[in-house]
């Protein structure tokens, strides 16, 4: 049964700098990188190529010794120019200098009809080999799914409610055929349903509206309505022992292409957003692209931060860094590394606050867009304010108690309070609104790690 869920709790952070829905002309990136650190839960990454090797798009370059079946493949063809390691030889980046025209490894090709008779085993085999498997994320824990498991259902969030998030309708336009093929493949992997959740307000993008073999649910309300974790909570909650898989619609399209075209196509649209970007729009590139061409010459001033992803869950990268594997957006923000005289006390309308103690009159301009910098606006303190985390978490979860249970390393409490249902992004808003400036997402991951590995 399709559901319509109206969420009241949450908060939309409205920022200046949304990407215009058109392709902007940026120079193409020359280098691309796969960062093992993007794959949460990857335990023992093993590189299978050496510096100087040439690869095609789809050539395996990396796998996790804990799950050897799943291959991580090169997004583009070219030469491996650097295998960057950090402290204690931790693998950080595998960089590829791209060829001017991409050549592809070839995989088995299926017609749309042939896909229907494909066996589950063959489907998994090709997905693992063809590099699309890491698109499937397992809940609980938010890690790359294990091909040996059978999930009770698969969830796809059809919209992103994060600040300045790209529009999926634009991101995926023209990919209907592949999306449907991807769904057909995915349907073999679960005994349950595939839930496709779309925005309650506005028109549903054609790619989702016409999809077959899915349960279309509607979610309305402020962020985090688009978070797949919140959607799972309201449709088919996770209990201890359950396994649910989630996948980004882009991943579904990638799977479809792998089976219909017989190639690993890592091309994607990335939205260039943020108040400090001069040119804002979408750019066609590949997974793991270097952001240098998107940043150089495209910034209003020099003191900026480049964020791969959005401002709530993204990651700071260098100006010549690489877009995260799962990211479809970069955000250019002003760096907030300056002092402000009596900054905590001044009445102001230029800074955004969820709390009325600062933004008392902000309700008068609900659609105002803000320029926010990266200043923490205060220092870390003990938990004081109560009731706020709950008001931005549209789940039957008590975030403060959950976080305290994690800090106390109380396993039973963590389980009972819902650690299986959350990953970092679901409580990211708590981190934003926190008066006491706790690293909420870091704490959540600590809790997940504790539960997962002990």
């Amino acid at each position: 049964m399709s559901k319509t869920v109206k969420l009241k709790k949450g908060f939309d952070i409205k920022l200046v700098g949304e990407a215009e829905k058109q392709l902007a002309d940026f120079k193409p990136a020359k280098t691309f990188a796969i960062k093992p650190t993007d794959f949460i839960g990857m335990q023992r990454p093993k590189v299978t190529v050496n510096e100087g090797d040439t690869v095609k798009a789809g050539t395996p370059i990396l796998f996790d010794k804990a799950m050897e079946k799943v291959q991580y493949v090169a997004p583009v063809s070219g030469e491996i120019v650097e295998i960057k390691r950090g402290d204690r030889r931790k693998l950080l980046e595998i960089k590829i200098l791209a060829d001017s025209s991409i050549s592809y490894e070839s995989f088995d090709k299926f017609s749309e009809d042939a896909l229907r008779s494909l066996s589950k085993q063959d489907a998994i085999e090709q997905m693992c080999k063809g590099g699309v498997w890491p698109q499937i994320i397992q809940r609980p824990f938010g890690i790359v799914a294990n091909p040996e498991d059978t999930p009770k259902s698969i969830f796809i969030s059809g919209f992103d409610s994060h600040p300045l998030a790209p529009d999926y309708g634009f991101l995926l336009q023209g990919e209907e055929k592949y999306f449907q093929a991807g769904i057909d493949v995915l349907s073999k992997l679960t005994s349950g349903k595939i839930h496709l959740n779309v925005k309650g307000e506005g028109a549903v993008p054609a790619i989702f509206a016409n999809a077959k073999g899915v349960e279309l649910n509607k979610f309305s309300g402020p962020h985090p309505a688009g978070n797949v974790g919140v959607q799972i909570h309201h449709i088919d909650p996770i209990n201890k022992g359950d396994i649910v898989w989630t996948i980004h619609p882009y991943g579904v399209v990638q799977i479809g292409k792998l089976f219909l075209e017989g190639k690993y196509d890592a091309s994607k649209l990335v939205a260039v957003t943020g108040s400090e970007a001069v040119k804002k729009g979408y750019v066609k590139t590949y997974i793991g692209a270097c952001v240098d061409p998107l940043v150089a010459g495209n910034i209003k001033q020099d003191n900026i931060r480049v964020v791969s992803g959005n401002v709530l869950t993204g990651e700071k990268i260098n100006r010549d860094g690489y877009i995260g594997y799962y990211h479809h957006q970069i955000t250019l923000l002003p760096e907030g590394n300056q002092y402000e005289f009596l900054g905590w006390m001044k009445p102001t309308a230029s800074r955004l606050s969820y709390h009325r103690a600062l933004g008392l009159l902000s309700f008068l301009s609900p659609n105002k867009e803000y320029v926010l910098d990266t200043n923490t606006n205060g220092e870390e303190r003990a938990f004081v304010q109560t009731g706020v985390f709950e008001s931005v978490t549209p789940m039957d979860i008590l975030p403060v108690y959950l976080l305290k249970a994690i800090l106390a390393e109380d396993f039973d409490e963590m389980e009972e309070l819902g650690i299986y249902e959350v990953v970092e992004e679901d409580l990211a808003l708590c981190e934003f609104v926190d008066v006491s400036k706790h690293p909420v997402q870091e704490i959540v991951r600590k809790g997940i790690d504790l539960i997962q590995y002990s």
Binding site: N337, H355, R356, A357, N377, G378, A428, D434
Partner: protein, 404 residues
């Protein structure tokens, strides 16, 4: 403000690791972060932008909400003095002199409370190497407002030090305390120096002047209690009280507005309500606690009416709202987020029980005329228990879902 910034930057190495005054780093830091919002930026992972608010801002909002009570308290202290010594009868006559008397009495108390508590905070920050707790901004203002203007300053200092050390610092500072700090200060005074805080004549400052004939400094609660014992209807006793000071000293309206003897900031229900509006509008305090606190007192007042065996029990429930410090306590003490219940359902129960307990203590306990202080402290202790059951219910829901 560049020169200030330069000055701070110049001194900074002195206080940093390896500097001469390394041990006093947190004192420097307190000053620095008071003057300038720090230049800290978000980490590599996690939220890259943060809400503009911080704990300092939240705490200062509470202080702002208390300002109406403070200003009213200052003027009322002078006004009561002039009334008791028979110098004027009108409310706004001698405005200036009344204000001066009030300022002369109240300001030193505020200064002593902030100074004494500030010193303790600073000492703990230096010894334990933690930042100065902003919570003291609020405590330092709350304590003066819940004591009578006639309280000796050394008692103010002692109570503040006791409260900050015993109720807060031993638990680890703001955010870790179990009891409301200001209420602990008041309780300390109550049990250590009852003569100064619960006598009959203490509430009104007389100075070197003699009181007018027939003056009694008893508070409304004391009058109500005595009336209850003597079998006179409480409202009548209140209305007739201190006729020497002009009619209607303890009329309902006067009790509501607060032109009565009492602790500095506690007498005016109206000012507490203005504070409540500020706290609720800014979202700093839980409206649930405030509403349920008043509701609890009213409901218990009604119950008392039903089983009235004396006149105090028969007092109309709305009087409980306006006599004594109930309004102030419910608005500023019960809503302390740290010592109150922390779950949303828990807040309803917590506030309601504070109201209920206040009335029970007031009406049935012969020893303490005021109940709000003990009610808040008592419920502080029980708040974790309330939360425990609310959280347990949440876990149970989670578990039930699993079997479906």
């Amino acid at each position: 403000m560049k020169f200030l910034r330069d000055l701070l930057d110049k001194q900074k190495p002195l206080f940093q690791k390896g500097g001469k005054l390394e041990n006093l780093y947190y004192l420097y830091e307190a000053g620095e972060t008071f003057l300038f919002k720090p230049n800290h930026t978000a980490g590599i992972k996690g939220t890259q932008v943060k809400d503009a608010i911080d704990l300092k801002r939240m705490m200062i909002t509470v202080v702002i909400a208390m300002i109406p009570c403070l200003l009213f308290g200052i003027y009322n202290t002078g006004h009561q003095h002039f009334l008791a010594t028979g110098q004027t009868a009108g409310l706004w006559e001698d405005f200036g002199p009344k204000l001066l008397v009030g300022l002369k009495l109240v300001l030193p108390i505020v200064i002593v409370a902030y100074a004494a508590g500030g010193l303790v905070e600073a000492a703990f920050a230096v010894i334990r190497k933690h930042p100065i707790n902003e919570g003291f901004l609020v405590t330092g203002m709350l304590i003066p407002l819940v004591v009578p203007a006639t309280l000796p300053l050394w008692q103010v200092a002692l109570a503040t030090i006791f409260a900050v050390v015993i109720a807060k610092e031993v638990f680890g500072g703001t955010g870790m305390n179990i009891l409301n700090v200001a209420m602990t200060a008041r309780a300390f005074l109550y049990f250590a120096y009852p003569a100064q805080i619960s006598g009959d004549q203490v509430w009104t400052y007389l100075g070197d002047k003699a009181p007018v004939d027939g003056f009694s400094g008893a508070t409304a609660l004391a009058v109500a209690y005595t009336a209850g014992v003597e079998g006179q209807p409480v409202t009548q006793a209140l209305a007739e009280h201190n006729a020497a000071l002009g009619e209607g000293l303890f009329s309902f309206m006067n009790l509501f507005i607060g032109w009565i003897p009492g602790s500095i900031g506690e007498t005016s229900t109206l000012m507490a309500l203005i504070g409540a509006v500020i706290l609720i509008a800014t979202g700093v305090a839980s409206w649930k606690i405030i509403v349920s606190g008043f509701a609890g007192a009213y409901v218990m007042g009604l119950v008392m009416n039903l089983f009235a065996v004396n006149e105090y029990m028969a007092m109309a429930p709305e009087y409980h709202w306006v006599i004594g410090g109930l309004a102030f306590g419910v608005v500023f003490m019960a809503t302390d987020p740290v010592s109150a219940a922390q779950t949303e359902v828990g807040k309803w129960i917590y506030g309601f029980l504070i109201g209920v307990l206040t009335v029970i203590i007031r009406v049935t306990n012969p020893a303490y005329p005021e109940g709000i202080m003990l009610a808040v402290l008592f419920m502080n202790v029980f708040a974790p228990l309330i939360d425990y059951y609310v959280v347990k219910a949440n876990k149970k829901r989670r578990l039930q879902r699993a079997t479906v």
